[in-house]
Symmetry: C2
Subunit: 339 residues, 2 copies
C-alpha cells in the first residue's frame, strides 16, 4: 500500500503543494473555501504528513522524551510511573504528540540519551523525573537548549519550568493527624537519599516534629523497594522504644511494612499505625486498608506535559504548583494502644 503524500492531495485538489501545507497547518495564504476542500480531500484519502519530512523541514519532531532511571523491578511495582505516563500521554495525544520512552541505568546514561535525542532531533523536549541535589542533567539540557519540564520541585530561578506539589504541607497534615490521635513516637521510612523530594521530605519531617514537640523522630532511608521497606520496618519495630506510627515514602514500602508488622505478631493499627505516601489502588487491596496521602498522579503528568508543550512552543508558562496531597484516613491508623 502506497502512502499518500502531500503531492497526491495537491493534485486532487488542483492546487500546489504549498497551498496544501498552508491549509493543513492553519497558516494564512489560502482562501477558506480552498482550505475546506483540501482538508476534506486529505481526510478522504487518509493523508498523514510524513513526520520525518516535517521534522527535516525545520518543523518540530512532534515527539517528547521521557527517560526513566530506575531498575526494572522498582519501575514495575511502583504504580506512580505508569499513572504519570498515562496522564502525560493523555495530554500529548490530544495534541498529536508522541511519547518516546527510554529506561536508563544511570544518570550518566540518561545524559547520553539526551545528547543523542538532541543530535538526532528525535524529540522536541523532555520531561525530567527524580531530580537530584545538584542535578547534572540540568546544565546539559540548558547547554543543548532542549526544552524541559522538571516533575518535582520547587525549582530555582533561571532553570527550566517545574511542576511540583508541596510535600512539606502534606507531611505536616500527616503528622498533625497522628499527634491528634495520640502518637508521640513517629518514624519515617524515606525514599532514595539524594533525590530532591526525599531531602525535602526529610527536612520537613524534622522541622514539623520539632514544631510539634515530638520526642523520637527517626528517618530510615531506603530505595522505595518492598524489600528495603520491610527491612527498615523490621529494624524500627525491633527497637526497645519502638514507634507507634510509621510514615512511608511510597505505598509499596507501606504494604511491605504492614506485612512485617503482621509477621511480627503486631496488630495494625492498634500496635502500630501506618501511613503511605502515594495512594494507588494497592492501598485498598490490603487488610487493613492503608491510610494514605492521595493526589491525582495522571493529572500531575498531564500538567507537566502541557507545560512542556508550551515551552516547546517558546512560551514557557513558569513553575506550576500542583494540588497538595491530602490525607485519606483508612483502617491502618488509630490511637496508639495505652501502655
Amino acid at each position: 500500500m502506497k502512502r499518500p503524500t502531500i503531492a497526491d492531495v495537491a493534485r486532487r485538489a488542483g492546487v500546489s503543494k504549498g497551498a496544501v501545507s498552508y491549509a493543513l497547518n492553519g497558516q494564512p495564504g489560502v482562501s477558506d473555501a480552498t482550505r475546506q476542500r483540501i482538508l476534506a480531500i486529505a481526510q478522504e484519502i487518509g493523508f498523514n504528513p510524513n513526520s520525518a519530512a516535517r521534522a527535516l523541514s525545520g518543523a518540530t519532531s512532534n515527539a517528547v522524551g521521557l527517560a526513566l532511571c530506575r531498575p526494572a523491578r522498582i519501575l514495575g511495582i511502583e504504580p506512580f510511573f505508569m499513572e504519570l505516563i498515562s496522564g502525560v500521554e493523555a495530554e500529548l495525544s490530544a495534541r498529536s504528540y508522541a511519547l518516546t520512552l527510554q529506561v536508563v541505568a544511570s544518570p550518566e546514561a540518561e545524559i547520553a540519551v539526551y545528547r543523542r535525542w538532541w543530535g538526532e532531533r528525535r524529540v522536541d523536549g523532555v520531561l525530567v523525573c527524580d531530580l537530584r541535589i545538584d542535578d547534572r542533567r540540568l546544565p546539559v539540557l540548558a547547554e543543548l537548549r532542549l526544552p524541559a519540564v522538571v516533575i518535582g520541585g520547587p525549582g530555582e530561578d533561571g532553570g527550566p519550568d517545574y511542576v511540583w506539589s508541596d510535600e512539606s504541607v502534606a507531611l505536616a497534615e500527616v503528622l498533625e493527624y497522628l499527634v491528634a490521635l495520640g502518637h508521640r513516637r513517629i518514624a519515617r521510612v524515606g525514599g532514595l537519599p539524594g533525590l530532591r523530594h526525599t531531602e525535602i521530605r526529610t527536612q520537613a519531617f524534622g522541622a514539623v516534629c520539632r514544631r510539634l514537640g515530638l520526642e523520637r523522630t527517626t528517618t530510615v532511608s531506603s530505595d522505595y523497594s518492598g524489600e528495603e521497606g520491610a527491612r527498615a520496618t523490621r529494624r524500627l519495630l525491633s527497637s526497645a522504644d519502638r514507634p507507634t506510627a510509621i510514615v512511608y515514602d511510597n505505598d509499596v514500602m507501606a504494604i511491605a511494612g504492614l506485612s512485617v508488622a503482621q509477621e511480627m505478631g503486631l496488630t495494625v493499627p492498634s500496635d502500630v499505625s501506618i501511613v503511605a505516601w502515594d495512594d494507588s489502588p494497592l492501598c485498598q487491596l490490603v487488610h487493613p486498608s492503608l491510610t494514605a496521602l492521595s493526589r491525582d498522579i495522571p493529572a500531575y503528568g498531564a500538567h507537566a506535559a502541557g507545560r512542556l508543550l508550551a515551552a516547546i512552543a517558546g512560551q514557557p508558562l513558569g513553575d506550576f504548583q500542583d494540588e497538595t496531597a491530602h490525607l485519606i484516613p483508612r483502617g491502618s491508623t488509630a490511637p496508639p494502644r495505652q501502655p
Copy 2:
C-alpha cells in the same frame, strides 16, 4: 548550539558525505583506514545522524510503537506492563531503537493510531498486546504491511510472528499441585473475557479439571482490577459450598482476594489457598506471601522486541515459545483444613 551534520564530519575527514554515510552504516565502499578515521571524527564532534533525514531517505525511522489499551488505573497497578516495557526497552536501546508509547481508549482508537503511525512513518513496526478473539487489529496491520509481533499466543499460520508462553501447561501444574495437597473444590478468578489468553486459560482450566476429576470448577470473570477481584472472591467465599483454593489470573486480584478472605475471618492458607498468576514483587509483600506462577517478564518483552527488529529487517524469525511459567509455592497454599 549547532548540531553537527554529516557534512561537518565529511569536511573534517576530507571525504564526501557519501563516504561518511557508508562508514557510519557499516556499508562497503570505504577503506578500513578511512572508516576508522571517520568514526573517530564523528565520535569526537559528537555527531548523531538526524533521525528525520535518515527516515526521509527511505531508511527506517528506528522507532517501534507500542499501544496500550487499558484504563490508567489498571495499567498503573499491573506490574506486568512496566516490566514488559523494561524488557522491550533493554533490547531496543541496545540496538539504538526508540520506543514510542501510546495509551489508547479502545481497539478502534488503537487501529487509528496504527494508521497514523504508518502514514507518518513514525515507527518501523509495532508490538501488539492483549490479543482478542478475531482481533480486528491484525487485518489492518497486514493491510498496511506494518511489521508486527504479537505478545501472547500461540498464533495461526500466515499472520505476524508471535511470542507466547504455554498457559495450559502452567495451569495444569497449578491444579495438579493443589490436588496433591488435597483440594477438590478449586475456583478461578479469570481476567478480561474476550482476551485470547483469558479464553485459553478458561478452556485449559475446564479441561484439566475434568482430567483430574474435580467436582466443582467455577470460573468467575473479572477485569484484572483489584476491586473486581475482591468482589469475585467475596461471592466465591460466600457460597454454601465454598472452594478451598482459588487461582487468580493476576497478582493484583490475588492480593485483593487475600484481603477479602482475611476480612471475612478466614485464614489463608488453612481455610482457603490462593495462587496468583504472574509473580511480581507484590506477591512477597503481603502476609502470607503468595504462591505464584512466575516467569521472566522483562525477558519476554526483550524476546518480542528482538523478533520485531528481525521482522523489520525483513527476516521474520517465526513464532517463539517463551519459557513456561513455573509454580513458586509460598505461604498462601497448604492442604485444606479437614472438615
